[in-house]
Amino acid sequence: MKEKTLLISVATGVLGILYFVYAGITLYNWIAETFIQEAGSVNNVLGLFVSSDPGCAITLITVGMLMLGSLYYKLDDAKGVSCIFLGSLLGVALLVIQLLIVIANVASIGVSLLSGEAAEYVLIEDVLRPEIVLGVGSVLLFSFSILKVRQITGK
């Protein structure tokens, strides 16, 4: 049991840091694209698909913050479980929203076909985003956290 918790703690820590890293990249992209004329996003350089949306950065920071917070409060303590529960929940929410956006974009292509316009859509760009990639990790942590929550609330 103890080892399991240790393993999960490490996973949480890694995922949390990753969320922060991607948030940083997002912010960099935003600043680069908006304020500096010449520099573009680092996506091409690093082979990544990260957006340049500052709002997105805030959400990634929030999830990362909660995940690292759960380590601060220790995963066997109710406070730590609260952090991981909500953190992973938000991670899952971001995943779901991004998937919905992908579906919506595809649907938009369908609509523009109706009016006879040609349209292009690079699916992979919208799918390999941190919200989805890291979100998968969030789903796993979420299922763990639900077990922990049930333990604590005695349901």
Binding site: A78, C83, V111, S115
Partner: protein
């Protein structure tokens, strides 16, 4: 307790009425929907802005009219909601009142129950949320409660439909036999003696005694209840009654050494506690709940605000990105499909134009936003029903106060990004008058979705690479101006410390999808009909003003030909306004388009397309590039952001606050818009941008 038993009225002779009463957040609307199937007529209680919801239900063999009273904690005359609910019961005289009590917050609900019993109402208590109570570790003995209160008590879990059958049975039984306990609260010998004195005088007026229970009147008079005083004044014995009341109050305040109203309210509450104690059984010590755990994070000093921002972000992504294909679909349907269909038909040209350029374009311009608005409201309804909104208000309250607003202002602010009309209505929830008025007045500065097309066209034409950022800057500008104006208002016209708020934090609950949908529909409906009708009229008006002019009828060719258009009323208007806007470098067409934006902001783009002779809105950016410069374009966008709330919003402000405030909003926004636009152009020139 003594009880009187009366025979019920014959069921064939009159309409049967059932009213629902209870605290806010106890599940009243769930029970209402269960009884009526969600079909309700929504109106206002006469002479007020308080919502009145009425529905029809079949209970047993009766056809019943169900009246949903506002959520209240007691029956004083202090709050408008309570007064409306009270008068609703006393004047409309429902045959049965279902008092919905919250088992998870028992004593508080009992306070209202006792107040209702004192009023002589024929009630049934629906003890709702017993599952939550059990989860919190205690059980309520419904039978004992029923015996103590002398009225039927039905345990229910409304969300799951549990107990509703028995509730309906209890209603039918109560319709046949009324039970009204006589004395519920003993106010102590001193007070009881005085009550008797006043009661005796009241009983002399037989008409008054039949209309309202004398004991209730006596108690209320001692509580200095204004509304009851009015009711008594019309009695022939008014003078004596009121004189005795005054004497009694003086005697009691001297003897009790305490404020009489407070004393009476406390005694009532103590009775509620007494009954609660007898019926409550702690089953197990309450363990930590999920709500406690989630709240640890959502109200945490560090994570509270980021979580709120995340929710906000998700709300907008959902409302704009996910709804986008639906918007595109509607745009295609009206702008291409129907339009082409009309134009290629064999109807006479004038009719074709009226239908195509007037009506179809008009309706299309409204409906294109509907998906955005519905999705936004849906997500907000979800956050509200889950219970998160109260936490969000708590988290932002401190900051909001520094900005001249209050935590509860956050909801109207967010709604305002969809449409200002329901946002202004949402300000009703704010208790403090000044806070409410300021929140409503600055709300139009929140960029509603109607302004987005204007931003997109201009940003696309002049700032192509930075399009997203420029549009964002508009939203930010609106926000900054809202804060500035709020602070300004709070320091000048709406001075005074905030009265302060009290807000319940309900436990987190899985929202009931049906209720979410109903709430979303009601809000979207407001936008649709209020805004929709006005915009449609505007579109037709523009159409008429375009094809006629000071010299008479010009013809529909004016819609295609800018030179002809210049001769129309619109052209005349534009030229007049051009002089006003000359320092900003906007020509008569841009000025004329602004005029139409007054009616509804999304019309600006359509008007511009027409005025500049763009056959479609896609052509507009290239045409605009020749007329504006990036600086003047930015100033124009800012002007559209700020100037004048659209007609529908003005109507809402007038409806909620009164015509003075609507005029204030109109004037301050026009002035602010003009000076900000002027300022932008000025600063730009100074900095050497052109």
């Amino acid at each position: 307790m003594n009880t009187k038993t009366k025979k019920g009225k014959s069921k064939d002779s009159k309409k049967i009425r059932v009213a629902l009463a209870g605290n806010p957040n106890v599940g009243k609307s769930v029970i209402f929907n269960e009884l009526t199937g969600g079909r309700a007529w929504v109106g206002n209680w006469p002479g007020t802005t308080v919502e009145k919801k009425v529905g029809k239900a079949k209970i047993g063999e009766y056809e019943v009219e169900v009246l949903d009273l506002p959520g209240i904690y007691s029956l004083t005359a202090y709050s408008l909601d309570e007064l409306v609910a009270r008068n609703g019961i006393v004047e409309e005289k429902p045959d049965v009142v279902i008092d919905i009590a919250n088992a998870a917050n028992f004593e508080r609900s009992l306070y209202l129950t006792i107040s209702l019993l004192e009023m002589g109402v024929n009630i049934i208590v629906a003890l709702n949320m017993i599952d939550l109570a059990e989860a919190q570790g205690y059980k309520i003995d419904a039978e004992k409660l029923s015996k103590l209160l002398q009225v039927p008590v039905i345990p229910t879990i409304a969300i799951k439909g549990y107990g509703l059958g028995k509730l309906k049975e209890a209603v039918t039984r109560s319709l046949k036999i009324r039970k009204i306990p006589e004395k519920i609260v003993d106010y102590g010998n001193l007070v009881e003696i005085e009550i008797q004195k006043i009661e005796k005088l009241i009983k002399r007026d037989t008409e008054l005694s039949l209309k309202y229970p004398p004991r209730w009147l006596a108690i209320k008079l001692l509580e200095k209840d204004r509304d009851v005083e009015e009711k008594v004044k019309s009695s022939p014995f008014a003078e004596e009654i009121l004189k005795q009341t005054k004497k009694s109050r003086e005697i009691l305040e001297k003897q009790l050494k305490k404020d009489l109203e407070e004393y009476i309210a406390e005694k009532r509450y103590e009775k509620a506690l007494e009954i609660a104690r007898e019926c409550l059984k702690t089953v197990k010590a309450k363990p930590l709940t999920l709500t406690d755990m989630v709240d640890f994070v959502t109200t945490h000093k560090v994570s509270g605000i980021p979580i709120m921002l995340t929710m906000l972000y998700i709300a907008f992504k959902f409302a704009f990105n996910v709804a986008a294909p639906l918007c595109d679909l509607i745009d295609w349907f009206f702008g291409t499909f129907l339009y082409d269909l009309t134009m290629s038909s064999t109807l006479p040209p004038l009719i074709k134009s009226f239908l195509g350029d007037g009506i179809i374009t008009g309706i299309g311009s409204i409906l294109v936003f509907l998906p955005n608005i519905v999705f936004l409201f849906l997500f907000l309804a979800f956050l509200e029903d889950v219970g998160y909104m109260a936490r969000a208000a708590f988290v932002v309250d401190k900051i909001m106060h520094k900005l001249g607003l209050t935590g509860k202002s956050i909801i109207p602010m967010i709604l305002g990004f969809g449409c200002n009309v329901p946002a202004i209505m949402a300000t009703r929830a704010i208790e403090d008058k000044n806070d409410r008025e300021v929140t409503a007045l600055v709300n139009p500065l929140m960029s509603c979705s109607a302004r987005l097309p204007v931003y997109l066209i201009f940003a696309g034409a002049f700032f192509a690479a930075y399009k997203g950022t420029v549009v964002l800057s508009m939203y930010v500008l609106g926000l900054i101006l809202a804060i500035v104006m709020a602070l300004l208002f709070r320091k000048t016209l709406f001075r005074g410390p905030s009265v302060g708020f009290v807000m319940e934090l309900p436990p987190y609950m899985m929202p009931v999808v049906k209720n979410m949908l109903i709430k979303t529909w009601e809000r979207s409906k407001r936008f649709l009909f209020k805004a929709g009708t006005i915009i449609l009229i505007a579109a037709i008006l523009i159409w008429i003003l375009s094809i006629t002019g000071p010299s008479g009828y010009i013809g529909i060719e004016a819609l295609e030909d800018p030179y002809l258009l210049e001769k129309s009323w619109i052209g005349a208007l534009g030229h007049f306004l051009e002089k006003v806007f000359s320092p900003m470098g906007w020509d008569w067409r841009a000025a004329a388009a602004l005029f139409f934006g007054f009616v509804a902001k999304e019309v600006v783009v359509a008007a511009m397309a027409m005025l500049y002779g763009a056959s479609g809105e896609e052509m507009l950016p290239s045409i605009l590039a020749g007329i504006f410069t990036p600086l003047t374009a930015y100033a124009y966008m800012a002007f559209v952001l700020i100037y004048v709330p659209c007609l529908a919003t003005l109507a809402s402000i007038r409806g909620e606050l009164g015509i003075k405030y609507a005029l204030l909003a109109l004037i301050y926004e026009i002035l602010l818009a003009y000076f900000v636009a002027l300022g932008i152009v000025f600063v730009g020139h100074v900095l050497g941008i052109s």
